[in-house]
Amino acid sequence: MSTHQNPSPDPEVEGTGAYTWTGKSRRWFLKHLPPDKLLPEDQPSYVASWAYVFGMGAVAGLIFIIASGVVLSLNGPQWYHVSSLGHFTNSVHLWSVELFFMFLVVHLWIKFWMAAWRGGRVLTWITGMVAFLVSVITAFTGYLLQTNFDSQWIAFQAKDALNAVGVGAWFNVANLGQIFMWHIMLLPLAVGAVVALHVVLVRAHGVVPPLDAAETDAQLRDATTGGTDTEVKQP
């Protein structure tokens, strides 16, 4: 019978009690994503602009897209043609997509003018762009699922671009079964995963400071000299 021995401590994680994969993962997450970073109660003083609402607007739009999409898919593709509630749900799905893209594109351009990739935030930019591109493909498959004249014509016209790049058999725009699978499963999973990663990265790295911000700026100097401000609080 062997006696239990504590494993030798890993120098990397000494003092943390973490020597398993799970423990090391927990330590990594707590280091990079501490709870006060994930769910912050304050933000740098410069995070005060109308420009910051568009990212949250896109997230809100996405939530309405998913909710209305779940209702539509649970009732099947024919429901919205014959039910007034179904038609309204279809309208909610359409208009949340339109708003989602409007917010997303404005958000993207504002982040460009902010050069928001600075200071180690490049993956946040890349995941944002990937979220946009995957959303474009997802929306396209939604237009193919309308099961009406518009979707028939889009299928006829769009097949050429997909066939020209050699993917027309696996992404067959006239095959409702395939497109249904792409639209309600694979692509939403991809959009959800990329958007979740994007939001976590925003929290992990924090909001990028203004271009040309300098140590001599009042907002920074006050923090080091202990100056007070009635409108903004000290960290």
Partner: protein
């Protein structure tokens, strides 16, 4: 010597952008902001849905086509029989028509994908559906007994005769030897007119089928379906890729994709689709990796839109 990264660099350097913020902070409530966002966007969505609704123009069936434009239907069925329709000459993934693929230089992805969704227009669109009728037309046996050259000649002669007839009306075609083609196409017209062809063409004899490829391709080979799309401003040369039926906004985010189809050299190129898709992939990739591209990543500094975005910050310097 340590190289100091440019202030526009994506690298994490020892500067304000790379360090945790140590200046003043303001109160921020993430969940409150999300809730406000949901309420505002929710009201907008419900308001827009209630006011503008969403379009739902009924789809086209082979029955509605045969009823509304019988001459066009017969002319298209003749082209399918003779192998001269767009689908018959499309190439992969539907058939192996030589030199039909779109190429990007020497790269031919369309040919590489192979004939994955095989379609023989004469048999799949005309002959096989007619065989499912309770009393198949005797003309089927005449067609089957003829050589391929004879079949092609009958179909070509009938196509010419239809084009010369007033309004392309099969009832006023000049006399000639068209073999079984008029009987076959008129039988198919009757089959479509009473609604049988839609089911047969789409389900291929199976009880379950969600694949509308044959129906969509057959419709597209005619003139009726594309004419409806032109009237609804949906065709490619009308920026149709980003349009929706009626006045509802469609996929406006595809504006750049649609734009390239309107200009040369794409507009008149036989390889337009592969060229436009390639350009869009390149541009999308460039925007994705823009932080790594010197020059482009410095544009935000040269055109100071950020002064507007962070107006309060700069005002308090």
């Amino acid at each position: 010597m340590t190289r100091i990264p440019s202030p526009m660099s994506w690298r994490k350097g020892d500067n304000i952008a790379g360090r945790p913020w140590r200046g003043r902070v303001r109160d921020y409530d993430l969940f409150k902001e999300l809730t406000i966002g949901l309420v505002v966007v929710g009201l907008l969505v419900i308001g827009l849905s209630a006011i503008f609704s969403s379009p739902d123009d009924p789809g086209v069936t082979l029955k509605s086509w045969a009823t509304a434009a019988p001459s066009d239907f017969v002319a298209t069925a003749t082209a399918e029989l003779g192998g001269t329709s767009d689908t018959a000459g499309y190439g992969p993934p539907y058939n192996a028509t030589p030199d039909a693929t779109q190429k990007l230089g020497f790269i031919d992805l369309q040919a590489l994908s192979g004939v994955r969704l095989p379609i023989d227009t004469a048999n799949d669109f005309v002959i096989n559906p007619l065989k499912t009728l309770p009393s198949p037309p005797p003309a089927l046996a005449v067609w089957a007994a003829a050589t391929a050259d004879q079949q092609a000649k009958w179909a070509a002669d009938y196509t010419t005769a239809l084009a010369a007839a007033p309004n392309g009306d099969p009832a006023h075609v000049a006399g000639g030897n068209y073999g079984p083609v008029p009987a076959l196409t008129l039988a198919l017209l009757a089959m479509a007119g009473n609604g049988n062809l839609d089911g047969v063409l789409q389900n291929g004899g199976q009880p379950y089928n969600l694949d509308y490829t044959p129906t969509i391709l057959f419709l597209g080979d005619g003139g009726y379906f594309p004419n409806l799309a032109t009237t609804a401003h949906l065709t490619g040369d009308q920026w149709g890729v980003m349009n929706e039926t009626g006045n509802t906004p469609g996929q406006s985010w595809l504006w750049l994709f649609s734009f390239f189809y309107q200009i040369q050299p794409f507009k008149s190129s036989p390889n337009a689709d592969i060229l436009v898709v390639s350009v869009m992939l390149l541009l999308s990739l460039a925007l994705t990796v823009l932080p790594f591209i010197p020059g482009l990543r410095s544009i935000p500094r040269k055109i100071p839109v950020h002064r507007l975005i962070w107006k309060d910050y700069y005002g308090q310097r």
